[in-house]
Symmetry: C2
């Protein structure tokens, strides 16, 4: 579809350190795309712990059901991801496919199928033939030398660039690393593709601590990104901790009360927020990256609802596309959120330019100054409700004709 | 902006009967537009009852605040509507404007300002100078001979055609009439214009009965239309009953228990649903009129939330624009609604073509047959959840590049 890379893409990719205990391989299984990789297999050393969060959709994909089921065990030996087919809304066939896929991956990695985690992204409603994994995965464990960038490339659908991020933190004198990859052109794609992210660390950390950190940080990272308000059937974030840093003398972090968990949490936050931003930057047709900051709300939850109401409003998003400092539409989006708001206390800024205050246009309003802000590729929109101390921040992008072209012109 | 009439516009306008007790006039006040009418004044005979419903926005416009306040009286002598400026988010100035506007209209119609109802639509955040009404309204009561079509034209903003509807019903041998006008290019417009509708009848009916009928019927008419999920600050529906049919011997309908209220309610429903459909047909950039029917939900409310989730989904709307029978996106929209749904009981139809059943693609699915349906200008999308007997129907339109052009290219 889109041949060109998003103008909002990062200008360079970070150097990714090795994560001991993680090995990666990619292959071409020909699921839908030609002449590109579409399968990622990650091998995880014995003792790897795992945590996950998934779509809130009431119609989740078969791989999401599978992962939820296996997560109870808290351990993982492998991750199999494919692009080109989401294995969603495929009925009993889809359930059989995940069972068979896990068996094939388990044979390749010499572990139990219940230790295999699965994710699929792409067309929905099409049966996915698990046997397509057999040849590519056969003997794959002997060829696991793929780069993180190649791993991120194998899981792309309408993404215009691969998404990788890394962070390191010293704990008890031992440097531990966190690497993450993600895909998603804004949670959406021609056939309702998905937001997927897989994060790996060598920190020795229990699945309970990992789950607690992930559940906490997802709120301000992946759950704070929106391109078009459409939630996929397949959204999946998995974090794997191989514990390999234990070989350097690091004692395991087994409880959330362990103060060393904080450092790890901050590093995890860096990786997750970095990847989440990249997804908004690769929003379909996006030409503007917009950070919506809502403050002065009664509660953080109220601020979140208002921030999402603004970030999802087609009128606000088209105003950004048109470089129009149309704060009236922001007022509309605040008003329609249904959350406590007092028109006469509302203040709105585009960048540093205050355009509205006390429920009316700012007396010192300069159309020229506001227009200057709107011409930027990255814009901060700030709203102060003047009611309390609740706040939230959402990342999004503009709504362009290119978005309609990608999703309307294309026939799957 | 848009010079051409929506291809979904009605092919002819209905003959509108006179409503005794109602006189209309329009004028050019030069509020924003040049060389077109932008003010509508309706004179209502003494004893006219009134009912209203308004935007649920937490940031309503000054005229909405005014109408809510006056509605308690239950009587009306005049209606003043202007296009070109919404008088929304205008602070204390806006409050002063509605007070002054009501005074000017009251002078023209020789009544009390509290008997004047007001509505404004157009740019928001710009002060509206009430003195602009003085000259046009001066002596206007002597020139009140405007047609219903002209009345509907005077309140248009980005609408591509005026919206009028009529229905008649015989009660106790007396024919009573209901005429309505509306504006709204899908609840939205370049400066977040509004959905406005004004309905007039000569039936002798108390304001309590009128309010009960209006509140009940608005749910399946104006509250069942969406173009882009953006709720305006100014949405207003007012119904006026002059009671002039009493002169033909019709006894007043004073309680909702009066069985004669039912006939009136059905006629009111016809007018409201007709006008609501016209709004979706004039959705900005619309090329397809879509009726979303959800049935088999646990409750009607649940069906409504799912129907709106489908009708507001940018991915579903762009699929209609692309004539793509992409039922996977419908599954996605059902799933994201957060309402009870069982993936494996879901069935989906485009027109008469069942595309999905029992949580998977219909075994007899024909891409060709589905594509044929998608080429039509009017499409019914039906979803059966298979859970209960809750149902709801929403009217909407597709999301086209023209929508983005209208709202993104245009600088107010």
């Amino acid at each position: 579809m889109t041949e060109t890379v998003s103008p909002l893409a990062p200008t360079s990719f970070p150097e990714m350190p090795d994560i001991k205990g993680v090995r990666l391989a990619t292959a071409e299984a020909g699921i839908k795309y030609k002449n590109r990789t579409d399968v990622l297999l990650a091998s995880l050393s014995p003792g790897t712990t795992v945590a996950g969060v998934f779509t809130k959709s009431k119609c989740p994909s078969a791989p999401v059901d599978w992962c939820r089921q296996q997560l109870g065990g808290g351990v993982a030996r492998g991750l199999l991801v494919n692009s080109g087919n989401a294995n969603a809304f495929t009925g009993k066939t889809g359930v059989e496919t995940v069972r068979l896929s896990a068996e094939i991956a388990a044979r390749a990695l010499d572990c139990s199928p219940s230790e295999i985690f699965l994710a699929s992204t792409g067309v929905i409603g099409e049966p996915l033939d698990a046997r397509k994994f057999e040849d590519p995965l056969h003997g794959m464990s002997g060829r696991m030398t793929t780069s993180w960038l190649d791993a991120a490339r194998a899981i792309m659908t309408t993404d215009t660039f691969p998404k990788i991020a890394t962070a390191s933190v010293e704990i008890d004198g031992v440097m531990v690393h966190i690497n993450g990859i993600a895909k998603g052109a804004g949670m959406i794609a021609p056939d309702m593709a998905t937001m997927l992210s897989f994060i790996f660390t060598d920190a020795p950390v229990s699945s309970a601590v990992l789950q607690s950190a992930l559940s906490r940080e997802v709120e301000n990272s992946f759950n704070a990104v929106t391109v078009d308000s459409d939630t996929s059937t397949s959204d999946t974030v998995l974090v794997f901790a191989t514990g390999a840093a234990r070989q350097s003398g690091l004692e395991p972090i087994d409880t959330v009360e362990d103060p060393r968990a904080d450092g790890l949490l901050l590093a995890l936050r860096d990786v997750m927020q970095d990847l989440a931003q990249q997804i908004a930057r690769d929003g379909e047709g996006a030409r503007k990256f917009v950070e919506v900051q809502v403050e002065g709300a009664e509660t953080d939850l109220s601020a979140k609802k208002i921030a999402l109401s603004i970030a999802n409003s087609p009128l606000v998003k088209t105003a950004f596309a048109g470089e129009d400092a149309n704060w009236g539409r922001v007022v509309m989006a605040v008003g329609k959120a249904g959350e406590p708001a007092d028109r006469d206390r509302l203040a709105i800024w585009f960048g540093d330019v205050r355009v509205a205050v006390n429920g009316a246009r700012d007396p010192g309003y300069s159309e020229e100054a506001a227009s200057e802000v709107m011409k930027q590729a990255e814009i901060v929109l700030r709203v102060d409700l003047g009611l309390g101390s609740g706040s939230f921040r959402v990342w999004t992008c503009d709504l362009t004709k290119e978005y309609v072209a990608i999703n309307g012109d294309y026939r799957s």
